[in-house]
């Protein structure tokens, strides 16, 4: 850190440094340069101990669990009560503020509208839990996800899922989905997920993270064909010139994406022949899809 004056000048003159300021005047940069010179010229160490100063959090005694227990016993037993807040956008309500509302109720479904105060834990025998209570246990992390085995009817399973979704805890939602994946066929599961966007998103994320490409592709295929059909119908609608071009682009991009994914799955060995892959995907040849891409793939 000890530079002679001469070295300083060399340093400044040799660097490809352009002066830069916010206010377009030289002052700031000059100030900085001066302070740099000032700081470097301070010869602080006569006694040259190697100061490896560590900037550290201030040391503190190792706490102990008994300390915590002691503290807890001195606590006051206040229970702060807070009111519920509607999970819906307040667009549906007249103004914001305190609201004691029930869970949102999708009309086509049959399930208990009110979440009652959880009962005491005497119902610990897993066999007695209702779907609602099961989900509560899941949210609290109190029970292993295996306890859901006893819910065998589709209705019970969907109750589990709907309560989990309403509880907003992604961990519980995914736990239910893992159970459903194991005990429901793809077709049934996908059909039920179609109308449950939140659950669907969690399911997709889970499959992505566990690298279950196969099932994910199946699911997206299931979804994408619908998306593509929808877009196709959009093209024929009377859009303005700009928007029509946009929709067309989006459609083409989507088709290309499907093709890329299909050939990728072929190369990964998931389908036997390329044409098999295309057939399964139901690609429509008579369209403005780039022929070159198909041939190359």
């Amino acid at each position: 850190m000890h530079r002679s004056k001469g070295e300083e000048e060399d340093y400044w003159n040799s660097s490809q440094f352009k002066a830069f300021t916010f206010d377009d005047d030289e002052d700031d940069f000059t100030k900085l340069r001066e302070s740099r010179l000032a700081v470097n010229s301070i010869k602080l160490t006569d006694d040259d101990e190697d100061d490896v100063e560590k900037v550290n959090w201030s040391g503190e005694p190792v706490g102990s669990i008994s300390w915590l227990v002691g503290e807890t016993s001195a606590l006051s037993n206040q229970k702060t009560d807070f009111p519920k807040v509607s999970s819906e956008s307040s667009l549906n309500k007249s103004g914001s503020g305190l609201s004691l509302s029930s869970w949102s109720k999708p009309s086509s479904r049959l399930f208990a509208p009110e979440l009652r105060r959880p009962r005491a834990d005497y119902k610990d025998i897993v066999g007695d839990l209702s779907p609602e209570e099961m989900v509560q246990r899941l949210q609290q992390g109190k029970v292993s996800s295996v306890g859901m085995e006893r819910f065998r009817s589709l209705q019970d399973k969907m109750l589990l899922l709907d309560f989990a979704v309403n509880g907003n805890d992604g961990n519980a939602i995914t736990a239910v989905l893992i159970f459903l994946k194991r005990t429901l066929s793809k077709e049934v599961l996908f059909r039920e997920l179609e109308s449950r966007q939140t659950a669907l998103r969690h399911f997709i994320h889970f499959l992505t993270e566990t690298h279950e490409q196969r099932l994910l592709l199946d699911l997206l295929r299931y979804d994408e064909n619908k998306k593509r059909d929808f877009l196709k119908s959009c093209i024929s609608l009377p859009f303005s010139l700009e928007d029509a071009a946009l929709v067309q682009d989006h459609f083409t991009l989507l088709e290309r994406q499907i093709i890329i994914e299909v050939s990728a799955s072929y190369h990964r060995g998931e389908t036997q022949t390329l044409s098999d892959s295309y057939e399964i995907r139901g690609i429509n040849w008579g369209h403005d899809v780039d022929q070159k891409i198909i041939l190359r793939a």
Binding site: D28, F82, T208
Partner: protein, 565 residues
């Protein structure tokens, strides 16, 4: 420059408590496997773990070797004993997910390991900032729509409530904010909640990151923000390379209020930093020169009491001067002035044509894909770029590879940008941001803004823009609710709420406000709110920041580009 508060402001909440709790729980878990053990730590966990338990503590509890979790086999020396059966424990933190157990089960490993959850939720990063160290919160929640972290954050809030509460009022805006509040509320009811009753935190404000995606995309110009943008601050710590430290090696520095130099300049606009640093250098020189006239006795006192402090200051000063120089160098290269002008125009909604030209040129020059993306987002809105998942699939995800690929990527970005310009010019006009900006007066009218004496929060963006998130918080705290802000909340898709706890007292004036950012918080927003707290009489005490992670434009866009959903 330094924060100055009234004498009767309550003392700083003791965040070391949080660290002790976390450490104690870890030790408890470690001791469940008695004997010599090796610890494998996830890379992301190393910095946070470092802050709360150092190696000697771990060694005290029979941790033999420390490894980073990697995809390779490790031969452990504790295995040498013949006939010993290896035991495994997996400690999940902060949350153990059912999905994890399911995967273990699927791979046949479930019976061989014991699984535990370590409730390490809160890491104090500074006197007024606590981080949940969950950078994945943004991607998981807002991009993938996975709500797995809702309960985690709810638990963190619950813990703060019991240690430093009870809270009296909770305000919030955002779909996830509501969910987190609900989780907190339910945990309050179902778990044994005891509060210490010292009530250091009064009101809480919870905000979703996606309520304001514009602010994190802006270039930062307050010192702490710049350091983060350029050098990347991690867990309150930054690494300065040799060209900054003017020595052979790089230096790791903790950036918090303990660094006296940093503490004075952190919230300052960059243009004020030089002046301060040079003044500091002069003061330092003077203090050091005093020793010339000293006799032996005075010298002894000087050495024992002052010298260490001066040396420390000298070292820090050099580092920060070095950092400032490096910042200036880098910014000059990237045409920072021009970039800022473009950003400000985008925020104001003026001269869009020029902005678009600048952006296209920026893309053509291939300076930085992320920067180009950032400007595109400011132009069209983050949400619109999200729908172009095809962009990602086609090529952006290859961003980090060879130059060959890079130019292909750049070409696509350019082409797409060109098309976007044609097809979407109408979108920019329809954006809600304009209306919000007008309603909340986010773009100050005054032409002359003296950055040396900032008069409002817009100084964090050189007087051009008040961060939307900060303005919302300011308004709601002022009004003690959302009344009068109906227009604004409508533009933000509602999801605002305001609730009062039953134990609310009127002693609010003495208690701190906790602001919780779900999805990340930038240093610019922190600086702006610190300014607000100083200026506002009714607050008159420091704001406490709780965030799922510290973020900036690079991190935000990287999460978009790397998102594999």
């Amino acid at each position: 420059m330094a924060a100055a508060f009234r004498r009767d402001a309550p003392p700083q909440p003791d965040f070391s408590l949080l660290k002790r709790l976390a450490r104690d729980q870890l030790i408890f878990l470690l001791e469940q496997l008695p004997g010599k053990k090796d610890l494998f730590i996830d890379a992301d966990l190393m910095s946070p773990l470092d802050r709360i338990a150092n190696v000697s503590t771990l060694k005290q509890h029979e941790v033999d070797k420390l490894y980073k979790v990697e995809h390779k086999a490790v031969v452990s020396s504790s295995d040498k004993a013949v006939g010993r059966v290896r035991r495994y424990k997996i400690i999940f933190t902060p949350q153990k997910f059912f999905a994890c157990e399911a995967i273990l089960e699927e791979h046949g490993a479930f019976g061989d390991v014991s699984c535990d959850q370590w409730d390490f939720h809160l890491l104090p990063v500074d006197d007024d900032i606590i981080s949940l160290e969950l950078p994945e919160f943004f991607t998981d929640t807002f991009l993938a729509g996975d709500q797995r972290w809702v309960r985690t954050v709810g638990s963190a809030l619950h813990l703060l409530h019991s240690l430093f509460g009870p809270f009296s009022k909770v305000y919030g805006i955002g779909r996830i904010a509501k969910m987190v509040y609900e989780s907190f509320r339910i945990q309050l009811q179902t778990e044994e909640t005891r509060t210490r009753g010292d009530a250091q935190i009064g009101n809480v404000f919870i905000i979703d990151r996606d309520v304001d995606l514009v602010t994190p995309l802006c270039s930062q110009v307050v010192y702490e923000g710049l350091v983060d943008d350029i050098f990347r601050i991690k867990c309150g710590c930054v690494e300065f390379s040799p060209d900054v430290t003017s020595s052979e090696k790089s230096v790791k520095v903790m950036l918090n209020s303990q660094d006296k130099v940093f503490n004075e300049i952190r919230n300052e606009h960059f243009s004020n930093v030089f002046g301060f640093l040079s003044q500091k250098a002069r003061t330092l020189q003077t203090a050091y020169d005093r020793r010339r006239g000293m006799d032996i006795k005075q010298m002894k006192t000087f050495v024992s009491e002052e010298l260490k402090g001066l040396k420390q200051e000298h070292r820090l000063l050099s580092l920060h001067i070095g950092a400032s120089e490096a910042m200036m160098k880098r910014k000059t290269k990237q045409d920072f002035q021009e970039m800022l002008r473009t950003e400000h125009s985008l925020l104001e909604g003026f001269e869009i044509r020029e902005c678009i030209n600048f952006i296209e040129e920026h893309i053509n020059r291939q300076v930085s894909v992320l920067e180009s993306l950032r400007l595109l987002c400011l132009l069209y809105g983050f949400e619109h770029l999200l729908t172009f998942s095809s962009l990602r699939t086609l090529g952006l995800i290859q961003e980090q590879q060879t130059t060959e690929t890079l130019s292909a990527v750049e070409t696509r970005v350019r082409l797409t940008a060109g098309r976007l310009t044609e097809a979407f010019s109408s979108l920019a006009k329809k954006s809600n941001f304009r209306a919000l900006s007008r309603r909340l007066n986010l773009v100050p009218k005054s032409e002359d803004y003296d950055l040396r004496v900032p008069k409002d929060m817009s100084y964090v963006f050189s007087g051009a823009y008040v961060p939307l998130s900060c303005r919302l918080i300011e308004q709601v705290l002022d009004r003690e609710g959302w009344s009068g802000l109906e227009e604004v909340t409508r533009l933000l898709n509602r999801h605002e709420f305001s609730v009062t706890g039953k134990l609310s007292t009127n002693q609010n004036s003495q208690r701190r406000v906790l602001v919780l950012f779900l999805g990340g918080c930038t240093f610019s927003e922190i600086a702006a709110l610190r300014f607000l707290a100083r200026e506002r009489d009714c607050l008159n005490k420091p704001i406490l920041f709780l965030t799922t992670a510290i973020t900036n434009s690079s991190r935000l866009l990287e999460s978009l580009v790397q998102n594999k959903v």
